[in-house]
């Protein structure tokens, strides 16, 4: 197994006081809490942090951990010393609170899949055992001959906008806590192939029935909720079911109100521009957004783009300058004068 440098995880020196550890934990917990954080690896980081805190916040566990010595490095191959736990006084019946002990009942059990390192040194079978949440996948108290449904879980999944439009099959990787025959908890990667229903929107949750925790004693499995996030798209932005895009047009297309091809999620459509269209003008393609009970619209914002520089283009613009009396700032100068 790999050594875990809990001080490094917490970003504190080995000599940190319990108060400093508490402060470091709170600060990092705010940053990496998976329900708040935008960091990609928030869930893993938060789990590591909870594990480090579980050990360092507890003077007995911390003292035992410190006895391993200061020479170990994060990730180094590690075997627990044969005399691990000897010479320590343990408070009987201690550690009866799970990794999530505060407030809301038994709470969520993200702590149930701490590392092998933790589980070996401080888990159920260790001298520090008795910590709930390391038995029966976090559902302590379920005795033999007792059936209970498994827990629901939530995971985040990133999909392409095209998949949301058409529906599509995505492969997602999850880490699921699992109990080994010798009573350790490991987190096992799990791959699911999921068909995403068409018309899902950013932030929406969809359900995979029976893909949460396994039930106990033949009870039904919990469900897995997937929170859908869209990957950034090169052309489109989204607001609910509405799709927003920029559309570059040539000055003459805008001036003459030409018909132009516009990309939409369902494929290109032809759009007749209003004559004398302005840059920044917003046009709506009704029903061309994401599908749903009320399908979204696609909005396009026009940007007027000049042709690339060339002698011909310059000749042309020079002629326009000479032949078209036009001051685009006439109003600005007029109001400037009025206020002067």
């Amino acid at each position: 197994m790999r050594f875990k440098d809990y001080y490094e995880v917490m970003g504190v020196p080995r000599g940190a006081t319990q108060d400093e550890i508490k402060r470091a934990y709170r600060k990092l917990a705010r940053k990496f809490h998976p329900d708040v954080s935008k960091e990609k690896d928030a869930e893993e980081r938060f789990k590591e942090l909870q594990e480090a805190n579980e050990v360092l916040k507890d003077p007995e566990k911390r003292a035992a951990y410190d006895q391993l010595g200061a020479d170990w490095r994060q990730g180094q191959e590690f075997r627990p010393p044969p005399d691990w736990g000897k010479g320590f006084e343990f408070t009987p019946g201690r550690g009866g609170r799970g990794a999530h002990s505060a407030g809301p009942g038994t709470g969520s059990k993200t702590g149930a899949d701490f590392s092998d390192f933790f589980s070996e040194l401080f888990g159920n079978r260790s001298p520090f055992g008795g910590t709930q949440g390391f038995q029966s996948a976090g559902r302590g108290g379920a005795g033999h001959g007792f059936a209970s449904a498994g827990q629901d879980h939530v995971a985040r999944v990133e999909i392409d906008l095209e998949d949301a439009y058409r529906g599509g099959t995505r492969t997602i990787e999850l880490r699921t806590p699992e109990i080994t025959p010798d009573g350790h908890v490991t987190s096992k990667p799990r791959t699911l192939r999921v068909s995403i229903p068409a018309g899902v929107v950013e932030g929406q949750q969809i359900r995979l029935a029976g893909q949460g925790s396994a039930g106990i004693g033949g009870g039904p499995s919990g469900d897995l909720y997937l929170e859908v996030n869209f990957r950034p798209h090169p052309l489109f932005k989204v607001d609910g079911r509405d799709v927003i895009a920029q559309l570059p047009v040539a000055p003459w297309e805008a001036a003459l109100g030409e018909t132009v091809s516009v990309p939409t999620l369902g494929g290109p459509v032809e759009l007749k521009l209003p004559a004398n269209a302005r840059a920044g003008q917003r046009l709506r393609l009704r029903g061309r957004g994401l599908p749903g009970p009320t399908p979204g619209d696609q909005y396009i914002t026009l940007s007027i783009v000049l042709p690339p520089d060339s002698p011909e283009a310059r000749d042309f613009f020079t002629r326009m300058k000479q032949e078209l009396p036009f001051d685009p700032r006439a109003e600005l100068t007029a109001s400037g004068r009025a206020s002067a």
């Binding site: 809490h33 998976p34 809301p104 969520s108 993200t110 068909s195 932030g203 949750q205 499995s221 927003i244």
Partner: protein, 104 residues
Amino acid sequence: MSTRNEDGDILRAQFLDDDDWLRIDEVCTRLSVERQWLVEMVELGALDPHGGLEPSAWEFPRRELPRVLAMTRLVADLGVNLTGAAIILDLVEERRRLLSQLGK
């Protein structure tokens, strides 16, 4: 367990229907929370069940479950209170909407 995919089958994700309601005990089991915790959430207005005054008669919309779970974790992990957790989730949702409009 029969629906677990070990053989690479494609799992069909479903939308959360508006008319899918769960009894309080089922919510407790699914989220691994105490009944009293849900009662507190209701009292603070963080959850709005059907079914009158008696908690045993309450029914909760399934679509609220991920939010209840998130609030529970925020309270347990960060030491905020329920009102704080509800505000955090509202702000996270608002941030998501704004970032999405910006295409990020």
